[in-house]
């Protein structure tokens, strides 16, 4: 039954009630009041039921589908948003560690290559200046030969590690999809909650229920200097710094 239909039936009950009261049919009038009462309850139940269903739907619809069947399987085991977000933490942490592993294994290889190149360059310069003995030249030739073999091999190691670093960035696709789903759910839940609050307001108005004032939340929010985590939009806030330069300026104004 639509809202208008409900309204019409309320009006018709009211008219009936007035008619019954005027003609002195008090027994019938009591019955009509009971009908009106039931009608009101019925409307509220229906509305609450509708909101509950849509909330339930939005939670139920919160299922991920990706093309990858392995991921899909993994995902199907995760049934709530916090689990999904934990999955995002795991994925990003794994990617960060993989990247760090690869970088750490490249660094000594690359720095050894550099060291050897610099050593050979010094010797080579000596040769160019014609300051080299035949013995030294033979030694240099061997060094160059070893270095070229090593460079060919090490650059392959570096390339393979770089390629692994590249591949470690594939978390972005999966985590992006998961987070989008969570955002969607949060939006739907918020909309449903707003509708429920409006509904609760309507229930209060109809039934005449009054609530005691809620404790001041503002006061609680301003208490102390709580950690807040990363600031997402510093440009929209007066009370946060926008980067290291701001921090340095603030500290130096404090005599640092």
């Amino acid at each position: 039954m639509t809202k208008d239909a409900h309204h019409e039936s309320l009006v018709s009950y009211a008219k009936q009630l007035v008619a019954e009261l005027e003609s002195g049919e008090s027994h019938n009038a009591m019955q009509t009041i009971a009908n009106l009462h039931n009608k009101r309850d019925h409307m509220l139940f229906q509305e609450v039921g509708r909101l509950t269903r849509s909330l339930h739907e939005s939670i139920k619809n919160f299922a991920i589908d990706t093309g990858n069947s392995r991921v899909q399987e993994e995902m199907s085991r995760m049934e709530d948003a916090s689990q999904r977000l934990s999955f995002v933490i795991e994925k990003t942490e794994y990617a960060a560690h993989t990247t760090l592993d690869k970088v750490e294994s490249i660094m000594p290889v690359s720095s050894l290559l550099g060291d050897n190149a610099r050593t050979i360059k010094a010797e080579w310069d000596k040769l160019m200046r014609r300051e080299m003995t035949a013995d030294e030249f033979r030694k240099l030739s061997k060094q160059v030969d070893t270095f070229l073999t090593m460079a060919a091999k090490d650059t392959q190691v570096i390339e393979s590690n770089l390629s692994d670093i590249l591949m470690a960035q594939d978390f972005q696709d999966i985590t992006g999809q998961v987070i989008k789903r969570v955002i969607q759910l949060v939006k739907e839940v918020e909309e449903s909650l707003v509708a429920m609050v409006a509904m609760a307001g309507a229930v209060d108005r109809i039934t005449g229920i009054r609530h005691e004032d809620l404790p001041d939340l503002e006061q609680k929010a301003n208490h102390g200097c709580e950690a807040e985590g990363p600031i997402i939009s510093p440009e929209k806030r007066e009370d946060v710094v926008s980067g290291q330069d701001d921090v340095d300026a603030l500290l130096s104004s404090l005599g640092f």
Partner: protein, 124 residues
Amino acid sequence: MKILIVDDFSTMRRIIKNLLRDLGFTNTQEADDGSTALPLLKSSDFDFLVTDWNMPGMTGIELLKAVRADEKLKSLPVLMVTAEAKREQIIEAAQAGVNGYVVKPFTAQALKEKIEKIFERVDA
């Protein structure tokens, strides 16, 4: 030079550890919050503390205050490396006696500058 790195995220600890190694500081240890860091600091002879702010258990600012209140540790140089960017927090850290404050995300250069500055002052 022995350095303690305190952060609840192991990746951030590794990044800081790598940057410190590039700066020539190879003797580092790690802790994942203030309450695990404090006993380490008390029982060992660290020369420098790098800490995050927001951590479960004991936070970085609480750790800083505990360090300054400890007779043995009170002059230990402390660098805060954190995403906490509220002015009142930076002021609180300064009042608690922090030696440097680096906001995340940071550059290797910024970390290097702050560390060098701290040691210049400590040595002076």
